[in-house]
């Protein structure tokens, strides 16, 4: 089975700081990969390298057969990778609905000339986006649809995370990168989140998901492929049980007095 995403020997240096050290991993179509590790281990940096925010110092990233190393973010999204951010980067002064519609940017094509000289076509495309966006909002847990005209900045934390995911899904991605989606959620909300992801995968069997998580409730729900990163290096890989039992992983988490959710 050929992998959808392949990260090969990626190293990311910021001056003297090595954020990622010769990291390799891959994920197949329709699979879920959980990435765990202590704070500051480089997990978000991994996402940033894959999505073109940073150009890796060395190494390759291949997606769906094509090399995307160092390609700019907007191009990577166009190819079918969508992501959320560790600290929600929502468009705070725009409505919830608008946030999702913006997520559809790569699947729409009205350009400036269209907007000016073919307003009917532009409006029709926008109306179609609105319909799809509303459908997306209704799908997840929470009541995002009822809040659709509220500014995104006014949402509660759990809703913000949900909106980030809805926005990411709007681009109909093949690969979804979720960066700590359960941050700020209590157990009930976390379970709802897990249910959302399960349902998502059921509806889109080809969708692959990479999950950075601290909350082991979530990782437990998707135990088949887990990778642990510490100090920029991959220190363990396998299924959840194996990784959890790995002494290096335990030392990474427990050997340093860091509190987790």
């Amino acid at each position: 089975m050929s992998a959808l995403l392949k990260v090969e020997n990626v190293t990311m240096r910021f001056g003297g700081l090595v954020a990622l050290n010769d990291v390799s991993l891959s994920i197949d179509k329709g699979a879920v990969l959980a990435v765990i590790g202590p704070n500051g281990a480089g997990k978000s940096t991994l996402f940033n390298v894959v999505t073109g925010v940073y150009r890796p110092t060395s190494g390759r990233v291949t997606f769906d057969g094509a090399e995307i190393t160092g390609r700019p973010s907007y191009e990577v999204v166009d190819r079918g990778i969508a992501r959320t951010f560790q600290s929600s980067r929502l468009f705070s002064d725009l409505s919830v609905l608008d946030n999702v519609i913006i997520g559809m940017h790569t699947r729409t094509k009205t350009g400036v000339l269209d907007a000016l000289f073919r307003p009917g076509a532009s409006r029709r495309e926008m109306a179609a986006c609105v319909v799809k966006a509303e459908a997306l909002l209704k799908l997840g847990s929470g009541d995002l649809f009822e809040q659709r005209y509220r500014p995104a900045g006014a949402l509660a934390q759990a809703d913000r995370r949900r909106l980030e995911i809805a926005r990411a899904l709007a681009s109909q991605p093949k690969l979804l990168l979720l960066d700590e989606p359960s941050v700020g959620m209590d157990d009930t909300e976390t379970d709802a989140l897990v249910a959302d992801i399960v349902r998502l995968r059921a509806e889109n069997p080809e969708l692959s998901v990479v999950l950075i998580e601290h909350d082991m409730r979530v990782v437990e729900a998707f135990p088949h492929h887990v990778t642990c990163i510490d100090y920029g290096s991959k220190i363990a890989e396998g299924d959840f049980a194996a990784v959890r039992a790995d002494p290096r992983v335990q030392e990474a988490y427990l050997g340093k007095a860091v509190a987790h959710a």
């Binding site: 973010s73 907007y74 999204v77 969508a82 468009f91 725009l94 913006i102 000016l116």
Partner: protein, 390 residues
């Protein structure tokens, strides 16, 4: 949270409200243009302030107004057209008032143009006066040196300014925020200095003798005769500028409600997140520069042919700051607000002519005041609403 709210108005009520409010607005504008003497102006300003405070305290008024206008768009537009077309007839032969209106209309266009960058995309463009100036100079040079007609110079000047817009836009791709503002300031100064120094642009003395445009044999320098009424020649330019304002409004409205407007708002809110949605931020920034320059050039061309004399002093850094003030004060990313800002900041300084020498000081204090107290402007941006939801 909502307070009192009215149910969506019925068609008849909406139509009545639309017509009445526009007529009131027109009457107020007429009054403020007509009055002389500081106290009357201050009185009208107080009235304005009162109206505004009411709007703030009772937000349902604004919602009701917008709902009315939205439910009977045809009535609203026809009323607006009638008001705009008929206004000069009431003004009569008062050329000074017509002049003020023309300048206000042109500034409204400039402010709407800048709003794409400043309001929608949060790109501070201190060189917007330069695009304005390039439009004016290119068209003037074509007319004076090659006898090109006004109507042909319009697209050429617009193209030239848009090219300039792209040129400034290119550095904007890699720079952001403060540095970007600095680049635009630098560009503005460079353009102004070059205009000042080149002899073929007339140097510091500028260009004179720009011929008046003509349409179907009627020269804009001649009085306008409609249905037996004779309007001063300024009326020609008044209608021309009004037409441009309409074009600017339509452009702004269409872009704002489209994928483009959303992309601009996205990059305004968070560039990195915008890129993560697939938005080619660099391209959209450049686009904002280009659209601004395009419209500004139109305004510049009309201005050049109206006053028939331009010099680098008309397009200084201060002009850019003035236009910026109009957007900031009127309301960032709010078409109505921006136009109000433009009219207010064109007409008021003229009316407070007793304090003419303090005009710049007034502007400076106003900008700082607004930025400190009400940075979103008089009429803040509104959430987009879709479909039947209003």
């Amino acid at each position: 949270m909502q307070g009192a709210s009215l149910a969506a108005p019925g068609k008849a009520a909406a139509a009545a409200f639309t017509i009445a409010s526009q007529l009131c607005g027109a009457a107020f504008l007429y009054l403020i243009l007509r009055v002389d003497g500081g106290w009357q102006v201050i009185g009208l300003l107080a009235l304005l302030g009162l109206g505004f405070t009411l709007l703030e305290r009772l937000p349902w008024i604004a919602d009701y107004a917008l709902a009315s206008f939205a439910s009977v768009p045809l009535v609203a537009m026809i009323t607006a057209a009638v008001v705009v077309l008929a206004f000069p007839f009431f003004v009569g032969s008062n050329t000074y008032i017509l002049h003020l209106l023309i300048v206000a209309e042109l500034y409204a266009v400039l402010a709407l143009a800048l709003n794409f960058q400043l309001g929608s995309a949060n790109i501070p463009n201190f060189a917007t006066g330069a695009s304005y100036g390039i439009g004016a100079y290119v068209s003037a040079l074509l007319a004076i040196n090659f006898g090109v007609s006004f109507w042909l110079t319009l697209p050429v000047a617009a193209l030239a300014a848009t090219l300039f817009g792209f040129i400034i836009g290119i550095p904007s791709m890699r720079t952001r925020d403060t540095y970007l503002a600095l680049v635009t300031i630098a560009f503005g100064v460079v353009v102004q200095q070059l205009l000042n120094n080149f002899s073929w642009t007339g140097g510091p003395n500028g260009l004179v003798g720009i011929p008046a445009p003509s349409l179907f044999g009627h020269s804009f320098a001649d009085p306008l005769v409609i249905f037996g009424w004779k309007l001063p020649s300024q009326a020609n330019f008044y209608y021309l500028s009004a037409a441009l304002v309409v074009v600017a409004i339509v452009t702004a409205h269409r872009l704002h409600g489209s994928r483009i407007g959303l992309a601009w708002n996205a990059l305004r809110a968070d560039e990195i997140a915008a890129k993560a949605q697939g938005i080619n931020v660099a391209w959209f920034k450049v686009l904002a520069f280009a659209v601004d320059a395009f419209l500004a050039a139109f305004a510049g061309t009309i201005y050049a042919f109206y006053v028939s004399y331009i010099s680098p002093d008309n397009f200084t850094f201060l002009v850019s700051v003035t236009i910026m003030t109009m957007v900031i004060v009127g309301g960032m990313d709010n078409i109505f607000g921006v136009i109000v800002g433009a009219f207010l900041l064109t007409i008021l300084p003229e009316k407070l002519r007793a304090f003419a020498d303090y005009r710049l000081l007034f502007f400076g204090v106003v900008i700082i005041g607004f930025l400190m107290i009400r940075p979103q402007g008089l009429f803040p941006q509104r959430m987009r609403r879709y479909g039947g939801d209003l």
